[in-house]
Every structure is written in C-alpha cells, then in structure tokens.
C-alpha cells in the first residue's frame, strides 16, 4: 500500500470547520508527494463536505455516517478513526486542535501507545525529520517537538495558523462511504445547548474585537459586536469583563480561557494583564484602544489610540463603513 496521510474533517452543525481545510495544508507540509486521505464523520449526507475536502486538496475521502455520530463522543469517533487507521495504515494523522480534536486524539494515542503532538502552529522539515512548533506557557514561549521513532506521526494543529490551500472546484477524487457499526457508547449526550452567538467562531476568527473592564457594561459590548459584524470578526473579552458579568466566560481570552491568534486583534478598554496577554500575544496585528496611556496593553500593540473608547468606537465604525463604501 502506498504511503498516505490521514486528515480528519470536522463538522460543526453539518458544516466543515475551517481547520479541516488547514489539516490538508499541514499534511502537504509533511509530505507533498503522498496521498492525502480525508475522513469525514457525521450523521446524514456527507457528500458535500467530502467534495469540499477534495476541492481543498484531499485526494480521497472516506465518509462514515451513523446515528451514533450525530453528537460527538470520544468513543464513537474513536471507534471510527481507529477502524480507518487499521484499514488504511496511514503514516501520519492530522486533526484540528478543537474541542473534538483535543478530546479524541489522546484517547487514540493512548490506546495505540503512540506519541501525540498537540496544538502545533507550524510544521517544518529538518533533515527529513518533521518538526512541530507549539506554544507553551500560553504562548509566552514555544517548543519544537519531534516524534522519537519512525512510527506514526500524530498531531493536532491550532486553528488559524497553517493556511489552507486555495480551493479548486475542478479537483476530483474518490469518495467512499464506509459502514462502521458505532456501538457500545458509555457516554450519552442528552442535549446540546447552543450558547455561542451566531457567526464567526472566536478561535477561528481572522479578526477579534475584545473588550475589558473599560467597556463598563454588557450594553457597552454592543458597539464591539457591531464592529465585529462589520469586519466579519468575533467578540472576545478579558477575564475582568467576564468576572463583571459583561459577557459569558466562553468569550474569555487569556491564560485561563481561550488562546487566539487572529490576523487583527483590537483590544478595547483592556489594560493588558500578563494573563490576558498570554491569550492573544501571538496575534499578527494588535490594536489597543484605552484611555490610560500607561496601560500595559500599549507595549504589545502595533497601533494604539489613547482615548475614550465610547468616543473612539462609534467613529471607528463610521470610518470603516466609509472605507468599505470606497472599496466596493
């Protein structure tokens, strides 16, 4: 059997997450001369996501649809992935470092006594060895990791760090529906409560507008949502803002909370505690808006505006609308 890399396409409410495409790009960085096999799991018709994986560079797709895969469980997904591994014997497996990826990959690694490199942000080849870079200490430092033997290369990649390939809708490839009897689940998902706001996922967002205590109230966050909508971004928050109940903890960015690496991070009324910086310091461009010119956040910012956020934000929204009008 020829060498191949297995990537996992992850569906969220029937739609592939962006990081799924990024796993294909990551696989190409490991070896661009081998077959890229994608696995898409779910419950229902998986033809469309399978085709999308091919457009983004996968050579072949296996789909597994089963009622017990409608909600993620580590046992259900684990069974399917391990069965596909058994059949296909890939040389590497790449999955997104998402809620699902974080959960199922250590289970598989443990069962098969494999090493696993989690949360990689870059992949490079050094003398034929594949080297993964991953953040440690919440991005205050990085480490380069390798597998110690020549066995299976197993890694998860952080969303938004390895760019997906340009999709090519003329690409074709085999899509094989595989039957797997997903059974003996010990955990039962009884209900899923969607609390996330509609729209862009915070961890996958290219633009994040984050508010801190300076935003002063839950209503104060409305302007941040408006700006985020305008830019196709997501809203985040500092721990201070979450503790003060201006928004849900699911929006918290920092050492505890989410770590984000968008192209643009706009910190609004955030002083920049070291714990918060840990969650966003690796963003590509950082803008700080704060009334306190001594605020720590300005040390990290590429561009800073010292001023009253309640004055700055409406002007910023207006200006971006104007700019948008000029461009289009």
């Amino acid at each position: 059997m020829s060498e191949k890399i297995l990537v996992i396409g992850e569906l969220q409410q029937g739609v592939l997450r962006k990081v799924s495409y990024e796993t294909i790009a990551a696989a190409k960085q490991i070896n661009e001369n081998v077959e890229i096999l994608a696995l898409v799991l779910g419950d229902g018709d998986l033809q469309q996501p399978a085709e999308e994986m091919i457009h983004y560079g996968a050579d072949r797709v296996i789909t597994v649809s089963h009622a017990n895969l409608s909600n993620y469980t580590s046992e259900g997904y684990g069974q399917v992935i391990m069965e596909v591994m058994e059949d296909e014997k890939p040389s590497s497996i790449i999955m997104g470092h998402t809620s699902v990826g974080k959960d199922v990959t250590p289970k598989i690694a443990s069962r098969l006594e494999l090493g696993l490199i989690s949360d990689a942000v870059a992949i490079e080849k050094e003398d034929d060895q594949v080297v993964f870079t991953r953040p440690i200490y919440s991005g205050k430092a990085f480490e380069k990791k390798v597998m110690k033997d020549d066995g299976l290369l197993f890694a998860t990649i952080r969303p938004n760090n390895i760019s997906a390939l340009e999709p090519d809708s003329s690409r074709t490839g085999d899509i094989i529906a595989k039957e797997v009897d997903v059974k003996d689940l010990r955990t039962i998902v009884k209900e899923v409560i969607r609390k996330k706001t509609e729209g862009v996922d915070l961890m996958e967002a290219k633009i994040v507008i984050a508010g801190g205590r300076g935003v002063k109230s839950a209503e104060g966050f409305n302007a941040l949502y408006e700006l985020a909508d305008l830019l196709g971004g997501a809203v985040g928050a500092s721990r201070g803002a979450c503790d003060a109940d201006y928004c849900d903890y699911s929006l918290q960015i920092g050492q505890t909370g989410k770590v984000v690496t968008p192209d643009l991070y706009i910190a609004v009324g955030i002083s920049g505690a070291i714990q918060h910086m840990a969650g966003m310091s690796n963003s590509k461009v950082i803008v700080a808006i704060n009334s306190d010119e001594e605020a720590n956040i300005f040390k990290m910012a590429d561009y800073g505006i010292v001023g009253d956020l309640f004055e700055v934000l409406p002007l910023l929204i207006k200006e971006i609308k104007l700019e948008g009008a000029l461009v289009s």
Binding site: S110, I193, R194, Q255, L264, I305
Partner: protein, 257 residues
C-alpha cells in the same frame, strides 16, 4: 466514593518566562497548583461532602511538589501521593505521565478521577484522556457541572462556549473547566490540619516501573521565546484623525481589513 485528583504544579500565571540553555529558566519562579487542577480539587471536596468517601490527590513531580499537595490537603483533601521521578527521569512526555499513573491506579478501584482540562505550562490536555483510556474508563473533558446520584453522573460539558448535557455511569474521569466552581482559599486551621494528613511518597521502583517502561514517545528539541515585538505606534491628533489614520494603516500598511 473513592475520589482521586490528578494535580500538577505549574509556574504562577504572573511569572514572565525566560529561557536559558534551551530550557525554561525555573530559578526563583513561584509555583502554584495548575489553576484548572484547583477546580478539580475543589470539585472533589464538594463531591465527597455530598456523597461521602475520600479524596486522594496525586502528583508526579519532585520533592518540591509537596507544597502544592499540602495546599490541596489544606483545602480539604484527605490524603496525598507524591510520585517523585526526579531521580529516575530526565525527560518525559504525556505518554510517560499517563503510563506512571496507569500503574499507580492498578487495583485502586477509583469511582471518580478529576483533573484539570489542561496544564497552563505544556498545555497538551492529553494526560486525563490518556489515563482514562488505559483504565478503560469513560472520560468527559472540560466539564462545568457535575451531579452524581446512584452511580450516575450528570455532566455539563463546555464545548467552545456551547453546553452539552451528558450522562455517564461511574467510574468516570472528568477534566475541569473554568466555571465549574470557585476554589476555596485555605484557612489557617486547614493549613494546620494539612500538616498532619498522610502524604505517601513513591518512586518508579515502588510501582515496579523502570525508565524504559515509561520512555517518552516525543522529544523537545528546542525551546525559544517569541520574537520581541517592535514598539508600536501611538497615534496622535484629534480622535477623529487618529481613527482615520488607524483605518488607513490597517487597510494599507498592515492589510488586515
């Protein structure tokens, strides 16, 4: 109930990180209980108080790890185990840790194992799920609510902001997410009591393990700090002018909007 907590000591979140000789410089750093493990300790104590049983806190570390274990005992845990690997292991990875814990848990009949969902230092989040798999126990990560009744756990799991309600029979391993509880502060009487609570010290030998059994599957080849950021630009002028300039910089110079 036999309740166990997996605990790791980590750098205090306030610490700046420096690297010397390809390693994180630990000299003078303050260590704390990994914040997510603190939720695990608190939850274990609350579950014991509701359902009865004992709470045992387990860590793999060195002799200094006793400090964090004593803190957990002062919070209210009943006993503690320190698996000291400093003499036997130079380096390990998540496979190593899970393998040691697997051996430790042989014959223990744990009903509930709690851990943090991630350690804020290496942040792989692997050890909990890896251990559960070796013990053939179901696991639920990033939990924000736990109710146990008649051997069944009703759990709420945070899924990147959404909430899943999950039912599972004990034994189960769970990893804790922020929002699960408010860890208590230690009290002076608690600290005094903790000094007398049992703390068992083990080495690999005591678990019939040798270095080869737990050899890491992965290796770290270098550690480095992110490049220092250039000093940013504080815009000047009327607020309206600053905003105009910012939008222009973001679209023309940084090209991010």
């Amino acid at each position: 109930m036999n309740i166990y907590v997996l605990l790791k000591k980590t750098f205090d979140t306030e610490e700046a990180i420096s690297v010397s000789g390809n390693q994180i410089d630990e000299s003078g750093a303050e260590f704390i209980i990994n914040p997510y493990d603190e939720y695990a300790v608190e939850e274990a104590i609350q579950q014991r108080d509701k359902n009865g049983g004992t709470v045992t806190v387990v860590t793999i570390g060195d002799e200094d790890s006793e400090k964090q274990l004593r803190t957990a005992l002062a919070m209210g845990a009943d006993d503690a185990v320190l698996i000291d690997t400093s003499d036997d292991l130079d380096e390990g990875d998540q496979f190593t840790t899970a393998k040691i814990l697997e051996t430790f848990f042989e014959g223990k009949e744990a009903d509930l194992i709690l851990a943090g969902n991630v350690a804020i230092d290496e942040a792989s989040g692997q050890v909990g799920p890896r251990l559960a798999e070796r013990l053939n126990m179901p696991f639920i990560t990033t939990i924000v609510k736990l109710d146990i009744e008649d051997g069944t756990a009703e759990i709420e799991k945070d899924v990147e902001g959404d909430l899943e309600k999950i039912e599972v029979s004990l034994p189960v391993l769970v990893t804790c997410q922020q929002g699960l509880n408010e860890p208590r502060y230690t009290s002076l009487p608690g600290i005094m009591k903790a000094k007398k609570k049992p703390l068992e010290q083990l080495e690999l030998d005591d678990l019939d393990l040798d270095e080869d059994d737990v050899e890491a599957k992965t290796a770290t080849i270098s550690i480095f700090l992110p490049p220092k950021k250039q000093a940013g630009r504080i815009l000047v002028g009327e607020t309206g002018e600053q905003v105009k300039e910012l939008v222009s910089l973001l679209s023309n110079e940084a090209k991010v909007i």
